[in-house]
């Protein structure tokens, strides 16, 4: 009985943890940005301003749930839920610790890629359904961005799959017992991080939103809770991508070789994810936004060739080692 209940409880825990984590992350990011930008960030409510999270939630929940009369009502309401659902589903295959994973499917990696791809519909549909020109441009940009970045996001991970011989994320972590893939798959890591930022629509790749150009891009017409869903989706995406980077390249739950036993696996995992998230926040603070066509050419002319080179190199090394 207890064994059957475990995945359910785990799923609940991750669901709540995900939403709670995203909420806290909004506060943490603002504090961190404030720290780096010589200002305070939210610091009034509760210790270190952590109460801001609650205040924001109350504000968003009590806002008028308004749908613009010119919008496509059904799609307009559906769009923000898609990103949250897709990102949440993505967490199902993340191995937080050796036995803390909801489902260890043998196509875990593909499942993750599939789920993140679904999330783009949210942006696309939100942009189209708003019937607003800025939102439309945001939606178009996100479609173009997805087309170019999905391709090598998947391809960049194939080196890992070749080395592990499995799509299961648990197997992938286990395969990093001796050497983390961040060393043997440097190019893969590079490309995946770039694609990951593009996937989660964060600066410098926040072109669908690009507030300086498109006011608020695809979610220009959104407010209240529906807007909050987009934000929730973005932060869940950020956490999911960070979890995946840790799982795929930084040994998942394993600590560095000699000090592995210092902390329990799940704490190691959490620490690493925390660092990756902070890295993403730092990127957001530091880098300007490329133009739409420059982003495309970066994708097709630089990222894709790197991925292919990585693939060939990995295959060549593996085959020569076998021989």
């Amino acid at each position: 009985m207890a064994a059957e209940l475990k995945p359910v409880l785990l799923a609940l825990a991750i669901l709540l943890g995900g939403v709670g984590g995203a909420a806290v992350l909004t506060w943490w990011e603002r504090r961190l940005l404030g720290f780096w930008q010589d200002r305070y960030g939210p610091n009034r409510l509760g210790p270190f301003g952590i109460g801001q999270v609650v205040a924001d939630m109350i504000k968003l929940l009590t806002k008028d749930d308004w749908v613009p009369p010119f919008a496509d009502r059904v799609v307009f309401i559906f769009a923000p839920t898609a990103i949250v659902v897709a990102m949440m589903m993505g967490f199902a295959v993340v191995p937080f610790a050796p036995d803390v994973v909801i489902i260890d499917v043998n196509i875990g990696l593909l499942f993750f890629l599939g789920m993140t791809s679904l999330a783009v519909y949210s942006v696309l549909l939100g942009g189209l359904a708003s019937n607003n020109k800025y939102a439309l441009l945001g939606g178009l940009r996100s479609a173009a961005q997805m087309v170019s970045y999905e391709v090598f996001m998947g391809l960049s991970l194939m080196g890992i799959v070749m080395m592990t011989g499995s799509f299961s994320l648990v197997d992938i972590v286990a395969a990093q017992e001796d050497l983390w893939f961040c060393f043997s798959q440097v190019l893969g890591l590079l490309v995946f991080v770039v694609a990951g930022i593009a996937e989660s629509h964060r600066l410098p790749f926040d072109l669908p939103e690009a507030e300086h150009e498109l006011t608020a891009g695809f979610h220009t017409e959104y407010g209240g809770m529906k807007f909050a869903m987009f934000m929730l989706g973005e932060y869940l995406g950020l956490m999911l991508i960070s979890c995946m980077i840790v799982t795929l390249f930084f040994g998942g739950w394993m600590g560095p070789a000699y000090i592995d036993h210092w902390l329990p696996p799940i704490v190691w995992f959490g620490l690493k994810v925390f660092f990756v998230i902070n890295f993403f926040v730092l990127l957001r603070a530091a880098i300007p936004r490329p133009r739409y066509d420059q982003l495309m050419s970066l994708g097709w002319k630089i990222m894709l060739p790197i991925t292919l080179i990585n693939l060939v190199l990995t295959g060549w090394v593996l085959l020569s080692m076998e021989a």
Binding site: L137, L140, R289
Partner: protein, 583 residues
Amino acid sequence: MQAAETLTDSRVEEDLYREFGADLLVVQKCADNIPTVWVPRESLMAVLQFLKPQFSMLYDLFAIDERTRVYRQGQPDSDFTVVYQLLSMQRNDDFRIKVALSESDLHIPTAISVWPNANWYEREAWDMFGVVFDGHPSLFRILLPPTWEGHALRKDHPARATEMGPFEMGPERVAREQEALRFRPEDWGMQDADDDSQYMFLNLGPNHPSVHGVFRIALQLDGEVIIDSVPDIGYHHRGAEKMGERQTWHSYIPYTDRIDYLGGVMNNFAYVLSVEQMAGIEVPDRAKVIRIMLAELFRISSHLVFYGTFVQDVGQMSPVFYMFVDREKLFGIIEAITGGRMHPAWFRIGGVAQDLPNGWESMVREFIDYLPARLDHYEKMSMQNKILKERTVGIGVYTEQEALEWGITGPGLRATGNDWDLRKKRPYGGYEQFDFDVPTATGGDCYDRAALRVEEIRQSLRIIRQCLDNMPEGPYKSDHALTTPPPKERSMQDIETLIHHFLNVSWGPVIPESEGSFMIEASKGINSYHLISDRGTNAYRTRIRTPSFPHLQQIPLISNGLMIPDLIAIIASIDFVMADVDR
């Protein structure tokens, strides 16, 4: 004023006489010694075309309602006068053409074919005075709303809301105003579609994060590529010129602060220099150096805001906060000296409001020692950033020739390789005593415009250091009867001085009848106040020539064919504030 004297030996006048005959032309003497020639309307176009090869820039174009002006000795009869002020940079020379029009026949040919930037100026003159420019392609309102009745700068148009009937916004009026706001591409000279594609029209602004105020630009888009763009201004119009006809010479100073609201005392500078020129006031040395120091501090402040927002508009999030921290420190100094921050209204006719406070040296020294290291940081963080360079290098390019044709001055002009800086070319207010360089660039693109302003910050720091090391002793205000506020030392000693003091405070000084303008190198380009005194306590006409106005007009020229993000970079690189455009 020293510079103005060199202008009188201009031979353009003589050439003009020889060409058109002296009997046709009337010469007017102005306080600024700029040759001012009245030309009959019939020969206007010929005269303008004759002058164009020598005067490449139409510096300003405006109208004057002369109907109630009393002291016009030696000037031809005129109800409305249209003034063309020309600037030649090769010759370092100015020229002013005036055309007299009678109220019953307010027609004059358009000068767009000679200088393209006449377009907006002529629309403004029509908007404000009802002067019809024959042949103008789009002679509709530019600053006032399309439903406005009357021409606001005419003397018979009320200046205050209390002089008009109560304002009512009934349903009919709402409908009318709404209808006037409807966007029709044809009205803007745009096509809905051509053979290949149907275009999208995007209304960028007046509320948009990157238009730096209430600036609107209508875009005709093919995807994200801009086919055509039409800037629309006037949302920030506050009737500053009209208010100049109502406020006393002294009490208008705070209004000037709010023209280029990032420039602070820089606006006061242009205004008081113009008034002092008319009143013949010599400013003491200490006041000169104090003014220059404050003006340069504000140049830094303005450029820091530009720098931060420019970088932010191409998507880099953090630098603007660092620059605002620096600006805050700078405001600390401004506040200690003037008591104000953005709008100190601190210059006075004849000097400045107060002497410098105790301890100002250490504050200023601390700041100018602190800023260069920060600028080095920003250089690495932003200007050397590869993405920022890709976004801005080669974007929004115009040549020196185009810049002159479109009336572009200041850093926007110097980015094309022209080193025209009034502080060097016509040192005013004491700038001749300072040692500094005029940075130039050759690309004429967004990146160069930004990089040049960064270098200007460093040069301003040099000037401020020289002010600091060489601050002269002496009075901070001129001992002249027309200065404001009037000298009070002896007013309690004898009745005569008391009466004069009382009148000059309550009524304000009477500036002798005269006319003239004074150009200064403001943070955004050349700024000047063309003032006319009709022997009154306030200006008969206040014409504010701001640099931002022509800068916005040429946006379509450099942005058509590019993408929306490029337009944002272009807008950011121009460095304008809407109050400086709309006044």
